[in-house]
Symmetry: C2
Subunit: 204 residues, 2 copies
């Protein structure tokens, strides 16, 4: 009934709807100027609505930020589940998951920038929820590396936890320097990153 329909003045165009437009505007502005330096007024102006509309759909500015976190967490969790359930040699699966993480990060650069810059502005309980979800992601990835260590295809003299943390750090940092449209595409970067990870884990 109301899923595909949108409000104002006929359904002639596929207009994204007010909540989605607010979320998109907030994502762009938060990534560009930072959460604290972006006023609610600027967000609603960019979305073409007023504060009344925003506070109709979101309880607070913090709520808007949390919606961005939820969107990225949901996406990551879904992708991770796919790779965890896949079959094949463990080294290939780790490589695919590592490259895909880079690919996904490049495709959602704004989210990635916001994620690691504005975590401390979330309320304590929401921050804990985000950390919990991230921890699940981390432990699943680490588990794949440990599986490779047990199988003997990865070196075991470096803790899987350290290797996973190092790689995640590098990926999280992508949002700080990567510019889409440059000479390095997302998949190409993912291939390089995954290659360096796998080579680093190769036994002597």
């Amino acid at each position: 009934m109301n899923t595909g329909d949108d409000g104002p003045a006929g359904a002639g165009e596929r207009s994204p709807g007010v909540p989605e437009r607010l979320l998109a505007a907030a994502t762009r502005l938060f990534a560009e100027r930072g959460y604290e330096r972006t006023s609610v007024q600027e967000v609603v102006d960019a979305a073409g609505v007023t504060k009344g509309a925003m506070y109709h759909y979101y309880a607070s500015k913090d709520d808007l930020l949390y919606a961005i976190y939820q969107r990225l967490l949901t996406l990551q969790a879904r992708r991770l589940a796919d790779f965890a359930a896949a079959e094949g040699p463990i080294a290939d699966r780790v490589r695919a998951a590592a490259a895909d993480l880079v690919h996904t990060t490049v495709d959602n650069l704004d989210d990635a920038v916001i994620f690691f810059r504005s975590m401390h502005t979330l309320s304590a309980d929401r921050q804990a929820a985000v950390r919990k979800e991230r921890r699940r992601y981390h432990e699943c990835f680490r588990g794949m590396i440990e599986e490779g260590q047990r199988a003997g295809v990865f070196r075991a003299d470096v803790p899987a936890d350290v290797a996973a943390t190092q790689y995640f750090g590098a990926v999280h940092h992508i949002g700080r320097w990567y510019h889409p449209g440059g000479e390095l595409s997302g998949p190409a970067l993912g291939a390089y990153f995954a290659d360096l990870l796998l080579a680093g884990l190769r036994p002597d």
Copy 2:
């Protein structure tokens, strides 16, 4: 006679001095709560002075933040110069520089956290100055990797730029998860990180 002497003009170094206390308090609070969520009043309260004192030594809150950046940049530049001027096999020098970067980061965790979280709050020209300094650091490190590639001790099928960027990202992220006093010491973490970097760069 001069043991009781304190103050900025004296040679005695007993008391840290008001500017230093302000910088230390700001560093701790900015790292803990974030720059925007820390008021000037909180900083001066933690330093045991008043706003008048702070604005006597620092032109603005932004100026206080920039002082933190300058301190870290100076430290990093000095250390890198030492490793660049050192002698010995290039692989050993890269390993030493990589491990030292981790060590230094762990020893200045608050600075590291602030560095990559609050860059966007600096004024445009100061942000450019910081980026320029960081770029010099990056290019020096990249140059060492390229030297190893030319010497044949590092693989050349991955750009040195990508390898350096990946490593720096991992190091920058340390401030988000590392807790001093845990079971993993700074030097131990540095050894693991450098080991993974060197192994990733090892030729087939």
